[in-house]
């Protein structure tokens, strides 16, 4: 009855059934909030009494297996990126990614940092990016509602982009995580302390 493939062959399938399923999907969005950076700070107000996102059936979940949306709340360092990718790949489909704050678009104020990736979209597909540093609770809630509309209209399909263009994403990811030599040439100057290397070991 429920068939995941129906999403992929949507054009030549019965539209009504998808609409029904999409209704249930949009009304029950479970999110995994990966607290990558400071953007996570405005989530508690959205989740709790003042804005109360549970009204729309949105709730926090503990693990990627249970979640529908992955929230990347703020900048992500290289080290975090690795964990984000693992988390993203562990989520079952359909899954959506919400990126918070300017840092996820172009690095924001950390654009020239040696440890912060600049554009999240190069490494995993992002459905909605919320601008601002940090995005206000209203903006977060608005993006959720926007995502709901997109789901209902069948437009939120970035996760399929990831499958189709896996080589592209994988190449970008590998650039960060594969064993690599120094990025800058000057690294050859690095001092090696003989005594600690040889003597004490």
């Amino acid at each position: 009855m429920f068939n995941i493939n129906s999403l992929e062959q949507q054009d030549n399938q019965d539209k009504l059934w998808d609409k029904v399923i999409n209704y249930f999907r949009k009304r029950s969005l479970w999110m995994l909030h990966y607290c990558t950076g400071c953007g996570a700070m405005e989530l508690p107000p959205v989740m709790t009494s003042r804005w109360d996102m549970e009204r729309f059936g949105i709730g926090p979940m503990a693990t990627p297996r249970q979640a529908d949306i992955l929230l990347i709340t703020g900048y992500s360092s290289v080290r975090t990126m690795k964990r984000i990718i693992r988390t993203y790949e562990q989520m079952p489909e359909p899954k959506w990614v919400l990126a918070f704050g300017s840092c996820t678009v172009n690095g924001g104020m950390y654009w020239d940092s040696y440890n912060v990736i600049n554009n999240l979209g190069e490494y995993i597909p992002v459905d909605i990016t919320i601008a601002g540093c940090m995005p206000r609770p209203e903006a977060i809630l608005d993006s959720m509602l926007k995502l709901m509309d997109m789901i209902q209209a069948g437009e939120a399909k970035a996760f399929r982009k990831y499958k189709e263009n896996y080589a592209y994403y994988k190449a970008n990811q590998d650039r960060l995580f594969m064993e690599r030599g120094p990025v800058l040439e000057s690294a050859a100057l690095r001092y090696v302390h003989e005594e600690t290397e040889g003597g004490e070991a």
Binding site: L32, Y34, C35, T36, G37, C38, A40, M41, E42, P44, P45, M47, T48, S49, R50, P60, A62, P64, Y75, S77, R79, T80, R83, T87, M109, Y110, D112, S113, Y114, N115, V116, C133, M134, R136
Partner: protein, 381 residues
């Protein structure tokens, strides 16, 4: 097998197959922030711990060397998102110390008020955190909603909800809007009225006492030696408060006592937060009452081109988590030569993790972290 004479952790050293790795964080509901411990477990007991830091490392200190003196103000508060204002103030104070200027009295009071408001938000989050780590979500919902009252005040005062960038070298950005102080007092009344609710649901809850009592004990001497600060230090019986010891802003003019408690366990630290919460409300009321008229900032010329003469200074500020210190070296240029940040969480997050966790069960890790108010960004930088 003899059941009592030796513990599981000892068995683990003899039999390698008994232990296993458990990843507590970064993406774990019980973890405060983007940080992790890799726990070597035997049974449900922790055998040893490897801190897994660096997920939040942005190279703040490097970035600050590349930006102007005032540009850096955008970066500074982002070191601790829960309690951002102490960072702004500490940075500004360091710069002012090197420049050798004294800010106007009214600015001092406004700084004090923002600092204390920021502390209140952090304490409300900590109350929520205690609830969350113990599986008690009611206080979490309440306190987060209450926190929003102060956030709104901040928004009115500074234009920003979370990051305010209100304090600048030479004072504060602008004077408080009309009616702000009256409304602030109202908010304080409302927050004080909520305290009995928090008492009954959290601080006097028998199960909370059962869970936290004796957890993560820090003795008086150990707390001093290992660099703990803030409520953690005071909950172990040490009367140290930067506001009193190295007075800054308007604190010398305000009347308050350092609150200390003997005990040193998680429960004492929780109650410490509750006591200081009351004190903070009191301080804000005093500051609002005593605030003088006058300028709110010095004229330092065009701030974008600010130059600071060569020199260095270490200035610290008491935040909700402890002592935030900024060591700034200036070579007389338009950019700092070196900014080094001292965050309060490192001793707890690394050293005390390795001391405390290996006797603990997995049940208590989150509550322990919450009680020591470990905030990973301030050591990850």
């Amino acid at each position: 097998m003899n059941f009592n004479s030796y513990s599981l952790t000892k068995i683990a050293k003899e039999d390698k197959d008994t232990t296993y790795d458990l990843f507590f964080g970064p993406n774990h509901p019980g973890m405060h922030g983007n940080f992790g411990y890799v726990l070597d477990m035997v049974g449900t007991e922790i055998n040893s711990v490897r801190p897994n830091a660096g997920q939040l490392h942005r190279g703040f200190e490097k970035l600050m060397e590349q930006r102007g003196w005032v540009q850096n103000l955008t970066l500074v508060p982002r070191i601790c998102v829960m309690d951002p204002d102490p960072n702004e103030v500490a940075y500004c104070m360091s710069v002012e110390r090197i420049m050798g200027v004294e800010i106007p009295e009214r600015a001092k009071y406004l700084r004090t008020i923002t600092l204390e408001m920021s502390r209140l938000t952090a304490y409300l989050l900590a109350i929520g955190g205690f609830g969350g780590t113990l599986g008690h979500y009611t206080p979490t919902h309440w306190s987060t909603a209450d926190r929003d009252l102060i956030m709104d005040m901040f928004e009115w005062l500074t234009g920003g909800r979370v990051y305010h960038i209100y304090n600048i070298p030479g004072g504060v950005r602008s004077d408080a809007p009309e009616g702000f102080f009256d409304k602030l007092l109202e908010v304080m009344d409302a927050l004080e009225a909520r305290l009995p609710d928090y008492d009954s649901i959290l601080f006097e809850n028998p199960i909370v006492h059962k869970r936290l009592k004796g957890l993560g004990y820090v003795s008086k001497e150990d707390a001093r030696k290992t660099g703990l600060s803030g409520p953690n230090l005071r909950a172990s019986g040490n009367a140290y408060d930067v506001r009193k010891d190295v007075p800054y802003a308007a604190y010398p003019y305000l009347d308050f006592e350092i609150i200390t408690q003997e005990g040193g366990d998680a429960l004492t630290r929780a109650l410490q937060i509750r006591l200081e919460y009351e004190q903070t409300i009191n301080l804000i009321r005093q500051a609002v009452k005593k605030i003088p008229e006058g300028d709110v900032r010095l004229n330092l010329g065009l701030l974008g081109n600010l130059k600071v003469q060569a020199g260095e200074a270490y200035e610290k500020v008491e935040s909700s988590k402890g002592e935030f210190g900024y060591y700034i070296v200036s070579d007389g240029g338009t950019k700092p030569y070196r900014v080094s940040v001292r965050g309060p969480s490192l001793p707890a997050g690394f050293l005390w993790a390795q001391k405390h966790l290996p006797t603990m069960k997995i049940d208590d890790v989150a509550a322990w972290m919450g009680s020591l108010s470990i905030c990973p960004p301030d050591f990850d930088k």
